[in-house]
C-alpha cells in the first residue's frame, strides 16, 4: 500500500512520460533530475519556499510559545479562550486561503480598510511578490499557531508544580525560570511541534491555490505548487515525479537531522 505509489513515483522519475499519452514511456536516466536542478526557475521556487517556511515556523513558534505560556496559567474563562484559539486550525487551508484573500482584497478588503481608517496608504497585498509572501505567511501562521499553542500548553502544564517551587526557593526570577526550566523541560515536545510545522509548511500548496493562485506570475509558487502544475497542468509526469522525489529527499533529510537532535535531548531524561 505504501510501497506501490512510492516506487512507481521513483520509476516515473527516470522516464520521459506523460500521463496523457499512455504507452509512450521512455527511459531517460537522470535527465529529468539534471534538467530540473539546472533550471533557475526551480531554484526560485526553492528560495521562495524556504523564505515562506522560515517566516512561518519562526512566527508560529514564537507566538505559539508565548500564547501557550499564557494559556498554561489558570485564569477565569481560560477554557473558552482556549477553544476559540483552536478554531483556525480546524478550517480547511482552502477556506483559510479564500478568507484571507477577501480580507486582503486591495479595493474592499478589511485590512486595507483598517489601514485607510488610520490614514495609511492601501497596499496591493496579493499583486506583489513580497507582500504576497508575507500575506501567505500571515494566513499560515493564523491557521497553525494554535497547533503550537496546543502542544506548548500541554508541555508547560506537564511540568510539576514542585519544580517551579524549587526554582522559586532557589532564587530564580520568572524570566530565569522560563528560560532555564520551562523551555528546556518542554524542549522535546516543542521540537516535535517544530518538525511537524517545518514539514507541513514546506509542502504548503492548497493555501496558495486559494490565496494567490501562485501569482503574481509564478512568484508565489511553492515547490509543491510547481509539482502540481508540472504534473496536472503540463502533464510532464516524469519530470513532476522527479521533482516530487527531490522534495521528498529534502524533507526526509531535514526530518532526520531534527529527529537525531530530538533523540539527543531525550537521552538526558
Amino acid at each position: 500500500m505504501v510501497a506501490y505509489p512510492f516506487f512507481s513515483l521513483i520509476y516515473y522519475s527516470f522516464h520521459n512520460f506523460s500521463a496523457l499519452r499512455q504507452g509512450t514511456m521512455k527511459p531517460v536516466g537522470f535527465k529529468n533530475y539534471t534538467f530540473l536542478l539546472s533550471d533557475p526557475e526551480l531554484w526560485d521556487r526553492f528560495v521562495f519556499t524556504g523564505k515562506f517556511v522560515f517566516i512561518c515556523v519562526t512566527l508560529q513558534m514564537l507566538i505559539g510559545i508565548f500564547v501557550g505560556y499564557q494559556m498554561q496559567k489558570n485564569f477565569r474563562g481560560r477554557d473558552v479562550v482556549f477553544t476559540i484559539l483552536m478554531m483556525p486550525m480546524m478550517l480547511s487551508p482552502v477556506v483559510v486561503g479564500f478568507l484571507w484573500r477577501y480580507m486582503l482584497n486591495s479595493e474592499w478588503g478589511l485590512v486595507n480598510f483598517l489601514l485607510a481608517s488610520v490614514g495609511l496608504a492601501k497596499v496591493d497585498w496579493l499583486g506583489q511578490t513580497t507582500p504576497a509572501l508575507w500575506a501567505a505567511a500571515a494566513a499560515d501562521t493564523w491557521m497553525w499557531t494554535p497547533f503550537i499553542v496546543l502542544l506548548a500548553t500541554a508541555a508547560f502544564r506537564g511540568i510539576p508544580e514542585t519544580i517551579y517551587e524549587a526554582a522559586e526557593v532557589d532564587g530564580a526570577s520568572p524570566a530565569y525560570r522560563f528560560f532555564r526550566i520551562t523551555l528546556p523541560m518542554s524542549a522535546p515536545v516543542l521540537f516535535i511541534a517544530l518538525i511537524l510545522r517545518l514539514i507541513d509548511s514546506f509542502k504548503q500548496y492548497d493555501l496558495f491555490v486559494a490565496l494567490t493562485g501562485g501569482g503574481p506570475g509564478s512568484s508565489t509558487e511553492t515547490v509543491s505548487f510547481a509539482v502540481a502544475k508540472t504534473a496536472f497542468s503540463y502533464f510532464y509526469t516524469g519530470e513532476a515525479s522527479a521533482l516530487a522525489v527531490i522534495l521528498l529527499v529534502i524533507i526526509i533529510g531535514l526530518s532526520m537531522i531534527l529527529v537525531r537532535h530530538l533523540t539527543k535531548i531525550g537521552e538526558k531524561y
Binding site: E165, A166, V169, D170, A172, I181, A187
Partner: protein, 361 residues
Amino acid sequence: MAEIALKNLSIEFGGFKAVDDVSLTVANGEFVVYLGPSGCGKTTTLRSIAGLVRATSGDVLFDGVRVNELTASERNIAMVFQFVSLYPHLSIKENIVFPLKARGVTKVQIARKLEWVTDIFKLGDELARYPGALPPGARQKVALARAVIRDPAVLLLDEPLSAIDEQFREEMRWELGHLQRQLGVTTIYVTHDQREAMSLADRIVLMNNGSIVQVSEPNRMFFDPVDVFAGQFIGSPSMNLIDLAPVEGGLRLGDSDVTLTVARDRLPQWALSAGRPLKLGVRPVNVHLTDEPGGVFLPVEDIYSVGRERFFSFRIGETVHQGVDKRVSPGGSEGCVHFDPEGLLFFDAATGRRVAAEVKG
C-alpha cells in the same frame, strides 16, 4: 542563619482553616521537627515560612523582621521537598549550583562552593549524571546539597525521607542529623514519622487539626504528653486508653470488675474528689505479663513476637489493649497483668487533657 518566629499565624484555604493561630519561636541553629498526622497543617506551616503560601493573618518573622510580603526567592531559605524536585534536564552538578547561578554568583565562588558540598555529600562520581539515573535516596541527597550550597538562613525540609527505601532512610536520617549539627543551620523539618522526629529533633512541635498540641523535647513528648492525642500519637504500639471508675480501694478498669489498686500519691486526688470522669493512659511498655504476684487477672487474647520483644494483647470489656510479655517461659493465656505505677497517666475523659497526679513520676 536566623531565628524564625511565627506569631498567631493562621492560614485559610477557601474557608478551611489549615493552620489556626500558631505561635512558635525557633532559635538560631535549632533543629525543630513538626510532627503530626496527614492534614494537620504542618506542611502548610512550613510552606508559609518558605513564602510559598501566604498567611491569612499573623506574622512570619526572620530575626525579628516581618517577611510576610516577601516571595520565596526574596527570603533567604532553602527547601527540600517530599517528592523529587530536581531539574530533570540538568546534570547533578547543574542542579546543585542552580541557586548560585540564579542569583548571579561569580564562577570562582560557584566552583569553590561546589567543591565544598561535593565533599560533604560525597557526590564526586555523580556530578555528570542526570537525576533520572539516580535512585530516590541519592536524589534527595542532591536536593539537600542544592539546599545547603548557599548558606540559607533556614533549612526547610518537607518529609524529605518519606519517598526513600526503609534501609537507606535510616542512613540518610543519621547523615542529616550529623550535617545539621555540623553546619549549625536553623532547621525546620516536617514529618509524620515519630521515629524521625524523636531521633532528629531538639524540639518537637506536635500538631493536630491546624493547631499546636505540644512543644517539647523528644523525651518529654514521650513521658509527659499533654493530652490523649499526644499520648496516643507518640509511641508504638500506641498508648492504651482505659475508662476508669473510682471504687472503694482503687480504680475499676472499664466495664470489667477488675480493680486496680494505686498508691494514693499517684492518683489525681483533686480530680477524683471533684467527681470528674477520668481515663487511664498506659503505654504497652508499662504493662507487663509476669509470673510475679501482685498484678490483676485479665483475659489474655494473643501473644506475638516482634523481634526480641514479645507483646500480648488483653481484653477489658470490649476493648483490646497491648502489653509486653516479660515471663521467662511463655505460658498459657492466663497471666498476671502488672501496671507500672510510674507509667500511669490520667486524662480528663471529657476534654482529653492530662490530669496531673499529686506526685510527678
